[in-house]
Amino acid sequence: DAGVTQSPTHLIKTRGQQVTLRCSPISGHKSVSWYQQVLGQGPQFIFQYYEKEERGRGNFPDRFSARQFPNYSSELNVNALLLGDSALYLCASTLTRASGNTIYFGEGSWLTVV
């Protein structure tokens, strides 16, 4: 049973460049979220998409954008990269049940901005 899959696993970009990160949720999960984890900190919420619509947005600048496709996969885009964008970017998919929601995380994409 495949978990949340993300690509690429590692990448290095230069300041000012743009990056696209990809995520496939667990089969049957319709909600995808993105989190940023800076070294030494807990994950911080960026976006949530459900049924291809943005349902939530964290405190991140407009340089960050995302979308969800009909197959529920998702992309996170970051424009005009800054050194401070260097982090682990986690994708998560949510299982929704009457007993409550459970969020499952992927292994993440390590982004280094130089």
């Binding site: 978990g3 909600s31 807990g42 949530q48 939530g56 459970t102 969020i103 995380f105 292994e107």
Partner: protein
């Protein structure tokens, strides 16, 4: 605004000793709390959720609304428990948003 505080960055205990990882939260609504664990070179994975009141790998956590705490406990630490532990609070908005607010994490090191 909601907040999760894990006061200890690092907690070292000897094998067989009891473990308590502290978590305090601030939230005006009815809290839904989780503990996630991240072992070395592995993904963040769910350990416990308060509504389940379950014990996973010997760990338990009780929600104390009066003290706004959700401490993680285990009576006898094992070496394989060494990992990073994150406490998280779920926020559900009217727009259907469901997001987690995480603490900064506590690194548990179990000394053989």
């Amino acid at each position: 605004a909601q907040r999760v505080t894990q006061p200890e960055k690092l907690l070292s205990v000897f094998k067989g000793a009891p473990v308590e990882l502290k978590c305090n939260y601030s939230y005006s609504g009815s809290p839904e709390l989780f503990w996630y664990v991240q072992y070395s070179r592995q993904r963040l994975q769910l350990l416990l959720r308060h509504i389940s009141r379950e014990s996973i790998k010997g760990f338990t956590a009780d929600l104390n609304k009066g003290e706004t705490s959700f401490h993680l406990k285990k009576p006898f630490a094992q070496e394989e428990d060494s990992a990073m532990y994150y406490c998280a609070l779920a926020l559900l908005s009217g727009a259907g948003s469901y997001q987690l607010t995480f603490g900064k994490g506590t690194k548990l090191s179990v000394i053989p």
